[in-house]
């Protein structure tokens, strides 16, 4: 594992917010590496700083102090536009509430990140989006609008959107938070198969029964890393099979 390339390198990351006259230290010096092909869960209760960390990892926010390298690039000195470009080329986001554009087909939703990349031609965009949808098992739902899809399917579209630009890392923020257990397991099973195909994934969650499907867990508490440990990965497909049948709908 040590010879693998480090995708994310965080060194003594600090983030302080000023709320009124008070300073809130959301991150108080966090350091870790995420290597290529890892499936990491970042856990913590609310207020632990995991959202702040995710925003910084996603280049939506800048740290107050410390260094953050993504794919070898130092983020600290980048301008807003350069950060946009990093988000566009290197990061795939999956949100809790899917965030699909309404009244826009699944295919077009998946194409969206490539729209902001002038290097990708119209045809290439189409092909890549189709491929990404195939990858998440929605080949036959390409023309459907979000409101014609179930929650799990919508999240699959969102995952396809996160994969379409072939990012160095997929950042998932409570990606199963809006889903029932069965669908959550299905999504986790999808993430596991993506992981097997070599994707690097960071999964933020506060549910420990979701974190068990990842291969490494970073526990955050009060802006510090409490624990950073490898876990024995539980197969989501098996968990799915073990679910009682009456849970089905």
């Amino acid at each position: 594992m040590s010879e693998r390339q480090s995708i994310i390198k965080v060194e003594n990351l600090k983030r302080t917010f000023v709320v009124g006259s008070e300073e809130v230290h959301a991150l108080k010096g966090v350091s870790f590496d995420i290597c290529q092909g890892e499936f990491v869960s970042i856990m913590g209760s609310s207020g632990s700083g995991k959202s702040t960390l995710l925003n910084i990892l996603g280049c939506l926010d800048q740290p107050t102090a410390g260094e953050y390298y993504i794919d070898g690039i130092s983020v600290r000195t980048k301008t807003k536009n350069e950060l946009s470009e990093i988000r566009n080329r290197k990061i795939g986001f999956v949100f809790q509430s899917y965030n699909l554009l309404p009244r826009t087909s699944a295919l077009e939703n998946v194409e969206l990140p490539l729209v902001y990349n002038p290097d990708v031609s119209h045809r290439e965009r189409h092909e890549k989006a189709q491929h990404a949808l195939e990858l998440v098992g929605l080949k036959d739902r390409m023309g459907h609008m979000p409101n014609q899809l179930s929650g799990g399917q919508q999240q699959r579209v969102a995952i396809a959107r996160a994969l379409v630009n072939d990012p160095v890392i997929v950042l998932a923020d409570e990606a199963t938070g809006n889903l029932d257990t069965r669908t959550s397991y299905e999504i986790m099973s999808l993430f596991q198969s993506l992981h097997e195909q070599g994707k690097t994934i960071a999964f933020v969650t506060h549910e420990s029964d979701i974190a068990v499907f990842t291969s490494r867990t970073i526990f955050l508490r009060d802006g510090h890393i409490l624990r950073d440990e490898s876990v024995t990965t539980k197969s989501a497909a098996e968990a799915l099979a073990a679910l009682p049948v009456e849970n089905d709908y």
Binding site: N55, S84, L101, Y116
Partner: protein, 406 residues
Amino acid sequence: MDILNLIRISAKALLRNKTRTALSMLGIVIGIAAVIAVVNLGEGLKQSTANQLSDMGTNLIMVMRANQRRGGVSMGSGNVQSLKVRDCELIAKGAKNVTMVSPVVNSAGQLVNGSKNWSGTVYGGSPDYLDIRKYEIATGVNFTDDDVKKYAKVGLIGQTIVENLFDDGEDPIGKTIRVGNMPFKVIGTLKERGENGMGMDQDDLVVMPYSTVQKRMLGVDYIQQIVCSAASENVAEAAVEEIESILRASHKIPEGGVDDFEVRTQQEMLEMMSSMTGMITTVLVAIALISLLVGCIGIMNIMYVTVTERTKEIGLRMSIGAKNSAILMQFLTESIILSLIGGVIGLLLGLLLSYVVSLAMSMPYIVNVPWMFISFVSCAILGLISGFFPALKASRTDPINALRYE
């Protein structure tokens, strides 16, 4: 991000909310339609008055009595008795650019034929009067110089008077009717001319020898107007100068003194009318522009609503790599598309509207091309302006907060 893509994205967003898009377009549609319709109709009105005035003859020159001051007291032009028949004779003799001259004396009077009566105006002139004013004889004959000498009680009547004083199919020629207490013989009728540019009935008149009107009706020796015909439109200005110098000499007006008459060409009348219709058009265009402005404010309002409503979408687009400028451009394009489509619809509507109105009012239909261009360009500019601030707001959205926005 190429322009085609930008337009596609914006068009999609607009199509997602068709009713709202249509309603916000409506403001621009009405504004542009109003501007185009008013401008075109104004142009048509100008043309139609010009046409009607030139029907009266573009080489027509009118000499009118002018306001006169005596010892600082304004006499009012109506009371001035400065023009005499002798002036006509002098002009006829002296002005070589003038082909025809006629004095004009008019009097309103009650016209009576048996049990029928009609209030009309009697114009007294020389036998040339009809030619100068471009009236044509329908039936009968014109009066002669001999009639003028004898103060003959003869007259020609317009079609409105024929209709009101005679039964259908009755031939007025040779009949004797009365104006006031004076009976006169109808020796001719005039061809119909319709209304003039100011809505006056040009067929409601009796033409008689000026001497008859002067001596038998009014009992005066002055005349109210002189009408002349210049040899051609080109020499009208030269003719005016000749007339002025003849009249100044005849009226013994010293060098630098104020004329007691006024000479106007048809050309000047035309300019006066067109400046008047131009003014009316300007006022109406100003009103139409205000409605266009209101339309733009409508678009701005809608764009603000749209930006707020789509906060989450903006956050998403930013999180997947849209630059602030891309967001700005997207919303700007939306408002420009909105205003341009509204503008095109308004343009067509305005053209249609002005066509229908000019048809209904039997005015010439004139399309003012520069204004079409102006309104189209201003549409794009207004779309840009009204979309800019909402778009700026959108581009300054913080993606973290926007993604959390419910």
